[in-house]
Amino acid sequence: MDTTARLARAEEILKPHDFLSAHPAPDRLDVTLLPGVLEAAVRALIADRWGYLVAITGVDRPGIAALVNDEKQWSRLVAEEETSSTSADHEGSIELLYTFCSGAAIVTLRTSVRYSYPVIHTICEIIPAATLYERELIEMFGVKIVGTPSTEKLLLPDDWPDGVYPLRKSFKGFTSNQPTGEN
């Protein structure tokens, strides 16, 4: 199957879940989804044996709003996990890119979560190897991943201060060994 056919097949599989799809390059398909349907979309791709997960990338976007979260759907899933967030903070969001490949075709599932409610469901039940990527997201961006098998630090040292997320833009490094970034 050539690249165009592979991309078309992926688009077909993801149609029921997508919000918006785009072809930024001849070998790429970007499908934007709501965070709540991410897991179902991944399940659909893997069930079809379309391809394999290559990476989960987080991108910090201060000042850019996330897609609207369907909170009713989430509150059922994360009742225990939900922290008491005060005002709905639309001052920033974290975009999550789940990149899958098959041959030369690259499909990226894009979703985003806002700072005040950075919650997403794990995909480790479908792809066990994803635990390493999810651990990285948790410690680097402060994303809360519901149901992920391990939340132990992967890359950061044990004595890293809580609540400091290095890959957020607000983190500017340490001065005299004290963290100065706030989220």
Partner: protein
């Protein structure tokens, strides 16, 4: 091995025992008798904060930073990055530069596989093979030094092309080197497939079936040794590979021996490729101009590093520094596969199994905590290695 008080988990990174294997890192094996029943991993000792660092450096400075993610596959990282930037800037580099870049990629593959061969042999107690393969590796190091001026971190890429040309004398040196190495590789193949002691350590050890390889997202020679036909140079050719196609090397035994065989076969394929590239090296320029500010956009690059698929995500906001750069190294996803593989094998097999995936150490590291029901002990890597060698005597 010091016995520790019961139910006291003592986690200490061990001062490296062996030069190349020394990065502290953390494996935990839970053992029942001799058999491994569980394994977990904790990395972080080599975490330097490079992804964040790229946001503070301009596009050119980043070449030098990213080259040093890993000294063994440095050119692969550098190529992934510059190709990403060139994609964003919508620049096509001259054909001669493209082939020279690929030449370096393949030379790097040789040095990496020979390095691994020596190190994996050392893990199995076979120091003679280690000395032979590293001596032969010097041939490739000399070639790289003659071409670029440095043995490691060649820094040959620039945005828009390459910095150094390949002249006739260097080309002859490369050909002579390939002839010598090919002869030596036949010898290594013979050793790896017929030496009984070595086979005792590698045959039927570390089995990963094709289904497991797919399910665990294995990549690189580790995956190909299980019959999984995944090679980015074949699936999604980049650099000069569209003009110089690669023949994928697969293994059928799914065990450690197969991983050795696949890598040596890849060496033969690389010798052929290099000769072909030298025979058909296009004439022309070495560089094109790339603007200082890269237009807004995103690029995704996939390359076949010696260890497997390397993935780069690059985002530009139109300024002279990247907005975000994400690196997913092949060893990271192979660790997940090895953790699952280890279960059911003897502790003595662990060093070989871990070495068999050819971990790129600066992406990952190793010290070992051996946990038995009721207590745990901390072993150095060397202790584990020697334990393995003793066990099989």
């Amino acid at each position: 091995m010091e016995a520790l008080p019961k139910s006291n988990k003592f986690i200490v990174p061990i001062g490296p025992q062996h030069p190349a294997l020394k990065e502290p890192g953390h494996f935990e094996f839970t053992v029942d008798g001799e058999v491994v029943v569980g394994a977990t991993i904790r990395l972080g000792y080599v975490h330097r904060g490079i992804e964040k660092g790229t946001e503070d450096r301009n596009w050119i400075q980043n070449i030098y930073l990213l080259e040093r993610i890993c000294g063994i596959c440095s050119h692969t990282h550098s190529t992934a990055y510059v190709e990403g930037v060139e994609k964003l800037a919508k620049v096509t580099i001259p054909p001669r530069a493209q082939v020279i870049r690929t030449l370096y990629l393949e030379l790097e593959r040789i040095h990496s596989h020979l390095l691994w061969l020596g190190v994996a042999a050392h893990e199995g107690g076979f120091d003679t093979l280690f000395m032979y393969s590293w001596r032969d590796r010097e041939t490739v190091m000399d070639i790289l030094e003659a071409l670029s001026g440095n043995r490691v971190n060649y820094s040959v890429n620039s945005l828009g092309g390459v910095k150094f040309d390949v002249d006739q004398k260097q080309s002859d040196q490369i050909r002579r080197g390939m002839d010598y190495l090919e002869e030596r590789s036949h010898y290594y193949m013979k050793v790896v497939t017929t030496d009984q002691t070595f086979l005792g350590r590698t045959r039927h050890v570390g089995l990963m079936t094709l289904e497991q390889a797919i399910h665990l997202d294995a990549t690189g020679p580790t995956a190909r040794a299980s019959g999984l036909a995944k090679d980015v140079r074949v699936d999604a050719p980049y650099a000069a590979y569209p003009d110089f196609p690669v023949r994928i090397q697969l293994g059928d035994r799914c065990d450690l021996e197969s991983r050795f065989v696949v890598r040596i076969n890849e060496l033969f394929e690389t010798y052929r490729l290099i000769r072909e590239m030298l025979d058909h090296l296009p004439t022309g320029e070495l560089q094109t101009k790339v603007p200082r500010r890269i237009p807004e956009g995103e690029a995704m690059m996939r390359l076949e590093a010696p260890r497997g698929e390397l993935f780069y995500y690059l985002k530009s906001n139109g300024s002279d520094k990247p907005e975000r750069l994400k690196v997913r190294t092949p060893s990271l996803c192979n660790w997940a596969s090895v953790i699952n593989l280890a279960v059911g094998y003897n502790l003595a097999d662990m060093p070989m199994i871990l070495a068999g995936i050819d971990p790129c150490f600066s992406c990952n590291d190793r010290t070992v905590t051996v946990r038995r029901p009721g207590d745990s002990q901390t072993w150095s890597w060397d202790q584990l290695r020697r334990y393995g060698i003793e066990y099989y005597k």
